[in-house]
């Protein structure tokens, strides 16, 4: 259903989407993050993506854990309910909320500390359950909010501002997600909106758990020389393997694709993702191949980006449960409770 919007002064030059909304209608509160923080760029990409998909903002459930990254759901979709869970515990909140009402769009924002350390277990199990949601890891290699400690995604040899090097191997969310059976695995960069927006759109439309690891530099604690999560380093080693064009349902595929490089994948709602191979070596529907490809490029220290693995046929939490296709919020009462009680007690005498 749609609601009458309160009259808002629309800038004449701002385009409207299919619902008659401008991008402004997808914004939220003022960000309180550091100027230049990668997380803010991701917020902007999210706003753009939701606007482009004609999503009703109030039909989104946005959620996060704790961290600078996890603050961002307050900065977009002001008409959507949001919840800041506990540090690392957003996946369980998302799972319960989705179980209760799978009709909404679920959008989770997390950090590398939030997902790969304290929340690693919950992250893995939400993937395993294939909760139908978009899950973003705004990955800066550090704990921003607690002032710059290394996170579990920090690369070996990456240094702190004071020059101390990290010596433990990183946990790569992309490798982790693929090996856990995640049905949509992508990597982006907060500094490349052109690549990121369609990835987010495809992730929102994917049925199942869509994980996007987004390199998102922390200007306060991890953007110096020696850091492997700085803007400069990310740009230098950025390796787009594949480009995903998101095409909404009923829209024609208009762009011209070079033969053998374009792979259209139809999503359950009728929209299409055209995977445009930048690197012909990579096949995003071949799990073993994808892992091998990532492994090769990791050795070259390259940051492979794009929609790296996609399985559109997987069944999500509700499909596995065979839940009725409705919200469970208001359907629990039994008309025949007295008869049920009596039937039960008949066996207890």
């Amino acid at each position: 259903m749609s609601f009458m919007k309160k009259p808002q002064v629309h800038h004449a030059e701002l385009p409207v989407n299919g619902l008659g909304y401008t991008v402004r209608d997808y914004e939220g509160g003022m960000s309180t993050l550091c100027a230049g923080c990668g997380h803010d760029s991701i917020t902007a990409a999210l706003i753009q993506a939701c606007w482009g998909l004609d999503i009703e903002p109030y039909r989104v459930a946005k959620m996060s854990g704790i961290g600078c990254s996890s603050k961002t759901p307050a900065y977009f979709l002001r008409e959507a309910h949001g919840i800041n869970a506990l540090h690392g515990r957003m996946p369980s909140i998302a799972t319960g909320a989705n179980a209760a009402n799978g009709e909404l769009h679920f959008l989770g924002v997390s950090g590398d500390g939030d997902s790969l350390s304290i929340g690693f277990g919950q992250f893995a199990h939400a993937i395993r359950r294939n909760v139908n949601m978009l899950y973003l890891i705004e990955n800066n290699g550090v704990y921003g909010l607690t002032k710059g400690q290394f996170s579990a995604s920090a690369d070996i040899g990456s240094t702190t501002k004071r020059g101390e090097a990290n010596e433990q191997p990183p946990i790569d969310p992309v490798m982790t997600a693929i090996s856990l059976g995640c049905t949509f695995v992508a990597r982006g960069f907060s500094g490349d909106k052109e690549q990121l927006v369609p990835l987010i759109q495809a992730g929102l439309r994917h049925r199942g758990f869509a994980m996007i690891d987004i390199i998102s530099p922390c200007v306060a604690f991890n953007d110096h020389e020696g850091s492997t999560k700085s803007y400069a380093h990310t740009r230098e080693y950025f390796h787009p393997a594949i480009h995903a064009d998101f095409i909404p349902p009923r829209e024609e595929i208009r762009a011209e694709y070079e033969k053998g490089r374009a792979m259209p994948v139809e999503l359950h709602d009728g929209s299409t993702i055209v995977l445009r191979k930048i690197d012909v070596d990579h096949d995003p529907t071949d799990r073993a191949g994808a892992i091998a490809y990532l492994e090769r490029h990791r050795e070259a220290r390259e940051i492979v980006t794009g929609l790296l693995y996609l399985e559109e046929e997987g069944s999500d939490l509700h499909a596995n449960n065979r839940t009725v296709p409705r919200s469970l919020v208001d359907i629990g009462m039994h008309e025949n409770a007295e008869a049920i009680l009596e039937e039960f007690q008949a066996g207890c005498r």
């Binding site: 002001r78 369980s92 799972t95 009725v324």
Partner: protein
Amino acid sequence: MTGRVNDFTLKIATVNGTGSASANSLLMKAIFRMGVPVMGKNYFPSNIQGLPTWYEIRVTDPGHLTRSGEVNFMVALNAETFAKDHAEVTPGGYLLYDSTWPRTRELDRDDIHVIGVPLARMVNHHFVDARTRILMKNVAFVGALAALLDLDLDVIEQLLTETFGARKAELVKANMEAVKLGYDDVREHYDCPLPMHVRRADMTAGHVIVDGNTTAALGAMLAGATVGAWYPLTPSTSVMDAFKGFCEKYRRTADGEREYVLLQAEDELAAGGMVMGAGWMGARAFTATSGPGISLMNEFLSFGYYTEIPGVVFDIQRVGPSTGMPTRTQQSDLMECAYAGHGDTRHLCLYPADPAEAFHFSMRAFDLAEHFQTPVFLVSDLDIGMNEWMVPELQWDPRYRPDRGKVLGRDDLERLSGPFRRYMDPDNDGVPFRTLPGVHPAGAFFTRGSGHSKHGTYTEDAAEYQEVMDRLRRKFETAREHVPAPLIEYAGKAFSADGRRPQPVKYGMLTVGSGDSAVREARQNMKAGGTEIDYCRVRAFPFSDDVQRFIDEHDTVFVVEQNRDAQLKSMLLCELEVDADKLVSVLHYNGLPIASMDVEAAVLDHFRKAKAS
């Protein structure tokens, strides 16, 4: 004592995993069907096969559905515990053992009657298959007991038929053969029935035999719970098993689609989060766990308290600390539940005394959780949850309507002028209005466990923070008179000066949960000995004013509870205005359900000491 008809305790000692459980419940059910009130307690090990297990059946026409504390008839079938079991029989009592292996040397008591039945020999002779032999040995002793205690063989056959169903008639036949083996042998060698036996009566009509985990689960389903999240943990597991069983039967559409989701979480922390997520979305959600799980859920309980999200937690208490004794009972999570979580937190707790109350309180918990927008505990225990209890039939209240609390719906939000403010107190009862995701854009707000103002916005402002904390305290005060009131019974007949309630006697006794029936029997026994004691059973936290008054009007109040550290007493002292010297603790914490004898002994001991000093 040997002549006790319909009033004695029978204890069966066997080895876990030998199929004795079904023989035990067969016995209990048979006595129940014969119209005689009966109590059954299962003391089982945390093991699948091989460790000792006991089952205690009390045949009790006075209706004392609690452990007396003595054993009048021991069925000693476990070689490993034989000496201990033999020693436990009260003088004048009986001991039945498998005389395939005579125990002449160990049977050195001359104050008990010994009945030897060659169970193994008879069964091995009659049945061929090894597993059948083990199982049938247990059925054969039921037959022996049937002869000795005068149990009705037709009732036993009927029960076996109901268990196996008409399609497995050959199993019924084999079982009845085993029953007859024991039955005939005993009749041949002993005078049957014994002076201590069961006589048909008409005292169980209108009752059922149920366990409290099953009834709590049924309560959850009938209260409309649609999301359950859990991690397996004895003794709470059967709550979820039962919930699933009920939902599979009553919550699937004609096409087989489920109108519920059961999530087996990766741990209790996640289970807590799933309940909070579903509660935030607006569904009735719950988890079932025990002490170790509550420890993990603390983070979310603090979160749920502060963000004001409904959710129900069943704590089926077991013996702690740590892994403790997983299959033994205790009331040692009273404080953990009441104050779970970091920061200033406190939670509504309901304390059922038996499976019937577990059913009603389970439903009540969902209403309270949504009414007060907070996590609510159903604090049960292993004794209530896993033992079979005879209770009055559960009644459905046709007027029941779920209390979904103060939720602004679509139309309310359509009419709303100005932004929605989440944490206001428009009704002066501490309870704000909430909105649910996906309903209307005007209802949106951001839920956070970080500091928030009454508007629901982020704050670090001293006054704004405190204002919300103070309202939360007011909300808790409102709940005081909404939760189930204590049950209070006065011993005397005289009325107080204002004529409103009976005149209290000098002593009061206060307990919680499954201590109820032991305290009741102890009171009755002491009354017969000339000591009258008033009684109060606390049924919820926060404690209502009635609890305060009960303590005020007595000189001494015995606080009976099943933990070492007097947790209930500590809570009374902490929450009410009471003189600590008035409260005398009666503590029981060895893992067995408290017996009436334990209560009586402690109270009489207090009187003796008081007199001496």
